[in-house]
Symmetry: C2
Subunit: 387 residues, 2 copies
């Protein structure tokens, strides 16, 4: 398998854009990514599209040719990949395999979501389709309640980390203040989080990620080809792993360790030939604040049960030993589902290029992205290095 690198990135602002269509978002982010790669559209040989809610929210499936036509990419192969909130990383991984195999030299991966024009009930029902609709959603377990159960179980096993969960939200909001693409750019306090509108105990509204519109695109190329295309720093994909777990909550071995994360991370670290301690910074899937704490443990950054302590010690803050979600994360940057995994890659590539501006991570050489679908029934972990 060949070495593959990211040569172009583009994204829209994330937010609530009533007058903006899916095609508008696609056109903006896709055009930016292709321009960033400094190449012509004719070089793109295949397209991988990530989208979760186009069918339930917009009545639109078959997003492969929709995106291809919007970007005038001609007759290239195009398809949609879906794995709930992990869709973006799954599409990225399919594109990676296609280039690594030698099948294509240059491919485009894009994720888009248009979610904010729905009623709360409709959004909740659509997102519940990422769980087992018979065994979980059918019993009334929407995602805030599923992850609230996970948080309560975590409290039972490792102690109450309500305060540290709130700190995760505060840190992610602080980070988003420095990200011009972030949806929520306002600081919050621990007190605001803890006293916010109750959602499902222990969550308040500030423990939950956002409903967003947005798109993010990435151009991948074989590394030897990348050097002939791009004048920007080459960001190599040095590791990528994918693992699954049961969809239904009741069938899971553990609610406080996400086996899919552990297994995907193991694959990615092995492929990259590195250890968790070699990671300089990471974008992890903070759909809820408890998830961020569980993730930094499952990824091997901290011992099981010690993630909250690390958060309270500031280790995961922007100036900490391993900055987590310097973009603002799903919590404050936003969570347009199909775009999320690709936006994580956008952030890691931006940092590794040294283009992070006010939010630049110091000495960023190796970055990691972690993206889950549902209650971690799907997980993709990718590792990137500046060459």
């Amino acid at each position: 398998m060949r070495s593959v690198s990211v040569v172009g990135i583009g994204e829209t602002k994330f937010g609530r854009f009533r007058e903006t269509s899916m095609k508008d978002l696609i056109l903006e982010a896709g055009t930016k990514a292709i321009a960033d790669a400094g190449m012509e559209k004719e070089h793109i040989e295949a397209l991988f599209v990530s989208n979760f809610s186009g069918q339930p929210f917009c009545g639109q499936g078959h997003m492969g040719p929709l995106v291809s036509e919007a970007l005038s990419l001609g007759s290239i192969p195009a398809l949609r990949v879906e794995g709930a909130c992990a869709s973006g990383s799954l599409a990225f991984r399919q594109a990676l395999i296609a280039v690594a195999s030698g099948m294509y030299d240059v491919v485009l991966v894009g994720g888009v979501e248009k979610m904010t024009h729905q009623s709360t009930e409709s959004v909740t029902a659509g997102i519940a389709g990422a769980s087992d609709i018979e065994l979980d959603a059918g019993l009334g377990a929407t995602f805030p309640s599923i992850f609230a159960m996970i948080a309560n179980r975590y409290f039972h096993e490792y102690g109450n980390v309500r305060h540290e969960m709130a700190l995760c939200a505060v840190q992610n909001h602080d980070n988003a203040l420095l990200n011009p693409d972030a949806q929520l750019r306002k600081g919050i306090t621990v007190e605001q989080v803890e006293n916010g509108l109750p959602i499902a105990y222990p969550f308040t509204i500030f423990d939950c990620s956002l409903v967003s519109d947005g798109a993010a695109f990435v151009v991948l190329a074989a590394t030897d080809v990348a050097r002939t295309i791009s004048r920007k720093p080459i960001i190599e994909v040095i590791g990528c792993g994918q693992a699954g777990d049961t969809l239904s909550l009741a069938s899971k071995r553990s609610l406080t360790t996400f086996d899919a994360t552990v297994n995907a991370a193991k694959q990615a670290y092995t492929m990259a030939g590195i250890r968790p301690s070699d990671i300089d910074f990471a974008e992890v899937h903070d759909c809820f604040t408890i998830t961020q704490i569980i993730n930094i443990e499952d990824l091997g950054f901290f011992e099981k049960g010690k993630g909250a302590l690390a958060v309270s010690e500031g280790k995961t803050a922007a100036k900490g030993t391993i900055p987590i979600n310097v973009s603002g994360g799903l919590k404050a940057k936003g969570h347009p589902i199909g775009a999320t995994g690709l936006s994580q890659i956008y952030e890691v590539v931006t940092q590794l290029r040294g283009d992070g501006g006010a939010r630049q991570v110091r000495d960023a050489e190796i970055g990691l992205t972690h993206n889950i679908g549902g209650a971690a029934a799907t997980c993709v972990v990718s590792i990137f290095k500046r060459r």
Copy 2:
């Protein structure tokens, strides 16, 4: 890239099964395919799921882990691929690339759809999501009307082939009489087709494919590994091509030649090192009768504008020179969208193994599958050979 072969196939009957859930269909077809391969589940390294309408019709997305859990496949990578009615072949192609690249030795591909419990309005709206909802469906152009426009344009360019369209339906129904998995097992006459319930001129109800429940699964293995697993004839994938076209109807170069078919076929023939005349039989995407005529031209079996003549001369009938849709096709076997492309492969493998029973094609050595999404905005063509 390594040689890849099909080592296991399984499908449900196609039909209207009110009491059968998606999970029931998955369990039946998946279990059959794994058993047919004569191996243990533990050998399966990755899962590719094809589904189109789980979200709009059942509220269920995230089908990768749903299928994986239903079949007790553990933590293997699983994802959903969607490209409207071509979803099955797209998932197959992703699986093929993953094995050909050397990434996995053995993978499972499965497609499922549960469509018959919907109202006609709801089914029509859900399927319309395979077109451009802004530019086509939004103007009221549902698929019967889109393909009716294509038929009328074909009449304009090549003459009225109403009679030969009816013959396609009659032949496909005749073929389905011999297929125990087919949804409609009753013969019809040309007069019945032409005088049936009008749908969109020139189509009557008998020109249209079916709304179906069903599932089809395929096990793929590297050919050198296949020989160690299976005691059945090895069916090698000798060619596979994928191409796209614009999603919106108005943007297409031609309505009577599907460029995506022509391009995907060219790739597949080149990869296989053969010509159209080397194909012994084919399963082609007969969503409407006119589509079957256009397809057999675009695939190179007959000259442009001569497909209808070939049908009337019996060349595409079960005992003809190139039998088309001996399974009964989408028209009579049925069209559970996500399963369709994989069911085409099920039929071709069955024939190449010599297991076709009463519908066995004589001297079947090389078979082709052709699967489109929307108005041929996505096309996959695959070629199989008995080794």
